[in-house]
Amino acid sequence: MATVEIRNLRKSFGAATILQGADLRMEEGEFVVLVGPSGCGKSTLLRCIAGLEPITSGNLVIDGEDMTTADPVKRGIAMVFQSYALYPHMTVGENIGFGLKIANTPKAEIKARVAEVAKLLKLDSMLDRKPKALSGGQRQRVAIGRALARKPRIFLFDEPLSNLDASLRAEMRVELAKLHGSLGNTMVYVTHDQVEAMTLADRMVVMSAGKIEQVGAPLDLFNNPANRFVAGFLGQPPMNFIKVTGASATAAGVALGLPGGGTVEVGLTAPLAGKAEGLELGVRPEDMSIAPEGRLGLEVEVVEQLGGETLVYGLLADGQLITAKLAGQAGIAAGDRLGLDFSEERLHVFDAGGANLRYRTPVPHGKAKAVS
């Protein structure tokens, strides 16, 4: 188990800057998920932690020791790759024991450790097979087994589930969570899939364009996004951003004009001063409800019945497209006119620069969650 600290870490390839000064601290035993769209630099950050990419500037500290330039093997890490990266010329057993062999571990010890790991991952019957002869799920488990065998302080996962089909992915997600529970190691996990991120993470790190946008527990991020990017990235279907028709400061916060003539008044945590131009109202689809006298009028274009819930896509009075997610099987058809409403507490207001004007600064950084 280990803490990992990243201080102002920068990474560039020639003229291209991939990471522009990341700061992050991961606690012992934490499951940290790096999430963001492709190209945001999350994999590069992971590879910098692993030691696969030299760090351009800044520091990497593991367990209080500066590891910025240390060899990967000295960092006490193991990594599971997207393509599993199993050695095709070695058997499953050799793959799992390879790291130990390189570390000159005695043969008997390697054998015992491989057997132990294989048992844990239910791979015992296929130790003599070559990776070619395994299914996708089995390969995935071998890749994890290989990481386990060396008893690393930190596990790194680089989109490990993206090559599996949907049902297997769900299954493996659960297994990973269990594994984390039983091992208790620090794990750093990269994905672009927000469902994986939400379900697995103790803490989530949302990244975009080489920057860390926000760090926090999944639900904190969902409920209290720092900016428009995080708000839009998390949640399915994504949050609606409604361009307001006008804004004026009030004693409590701001009064916003809605398409179709309605207004809404909400409190702000940040001063509005001078930022009234280009404000957007953020409403999650699931926070909307049907109300004939509601503040938003919707002309329904498409209705998706999902059984447990209903997705309604439609146009506001000024032609903006929004989505509403309604519980149950609502009897709505394309062409209907609906009134929608929402509760003020769940609203977000974003200024032209994307900052959430209703963002509440969380309790000072610390143990967001008790260590298990």
Partner: protein, 281 residues
């Protein structure tokens, strides 16, 4: 519908005729050379398409013993195998570093090696001989081997670079994470994975050097150091003044041809898939 089928059938048949005919011609060629080696000279010129009436096995005896093809065979085997092993020892690591390393001037160096493929070998004959002689390696199999290795480097590196660069980089990362040093990554992971490519260049170089005669003609004088292809060459030049014993020539050609053919029959699939994997990437 039946029209359609028969038109297709004709087309299909035509494909087999063209491709099969061409392939059969290769077989015919080998069979003809072997048959020619069993003929009498008179038969050979008078009726090249006939089957030898009384096989002249003596042609082989004459070639193997009198023309010393037995000795040449051993020389060829020695020079070719040692050269191939040395080429691999030298070129495989270089190709690996050139295709997977990250250092300044890598591309330039890689092009610099490729550049050697454009050098016409006859250009090098005299300087090479003088160099060999000053190192006391002229007319030795060692000298010939060194030259073979050096001159095979550009092509070998070119093909192998293609191989190494086609290997997934995640395996390299995985090995690093598993604690491999850079040399261990090469030895335990990348080299075993590049084995098909290594086998291919080994075979290609073997075949090429086995049949090489221009360089050896310049560098080797003594009959006891001659290789098989020089043996063939001396049979051909002996035609002037001594007379053409064509049947023995074909016996010699058969002796030269058989090892590469056997190698080819055993390894053709590996060789062909290898050529393409590296050569065209």
């Amino acid at each position: 519908m039946s029209d359609f089928i028969s038109a297709r059938g004709i087309k299909r048949g035509l494909s087999y005729l063209v491709v099969g005919g061409w392939a059969l011609f290769s077989v015919f060629f080998v069979v003809w050379v072997v048959l020619a080696s069993l003929k009498k000279n008179r038969e050979l010129f008078g009726s090249p398409l006939s089957i030898p009436t009384s096989p002249q096995w003596g042609n082989f005896v004459k070639t193997w013993v009198n023309n010393r093809f037995g000795d040449y065979f051993l020389n060829s085997l020695l020079v070719t195998s040692v050269s191939v092993v040395a080429i691999l020892i030298v070129a495989v690591p270089a190709a690996y570093v050139l295709s997977r390393g990250r250092f300044r001037g890598r591309e330039a160096l890689s092009s610099f090696f490729a550049f050697g493929m454009g050098v016409p070998f006859p250009l090098l004959f005299v300087p090479l001989f003088v160099m060999m002689a000053s190192m006391r390696l002229a007319d030795t199999l060692t000298g010939l081997t060194i030259v073979y290795v050096a001159l095979s480097i550009p092509f070998t590196i070119y093909v192998l670079e293609g191989f190494f660069s086609s290997l997934p980089s995640e395996l390299e990362s995985a090995a690093v994470i598993d604690g491999c040093s850079d040399v261990q990554v090469f030895r335990h992971v990348m080299l075993p994975l590049a084995m098909p490519g290594v086998a291919t260049v080994a075979i290609l170089n073997f075949v090429g050097l086995w049949n090489e005669y221009q360089l050896s003609l310049v560098l080797i004088n003594s009959p006891e150091n001659r290789t098989l292809s020089l043996g063939i060459y001396s049979l051909i030049t002996s035609m002037q003044y001594s007379g053409g014993d064509w049947a023995s020539l074909f016996a010699g050609v058969t002796i030269v041809m058989v090892p590469t053919l056997i190698l080819f029959v055993i390894l053709s699939e590996k060789m062909i898939s290898g050529i393409t994997m590296g050569g065209v990437k």
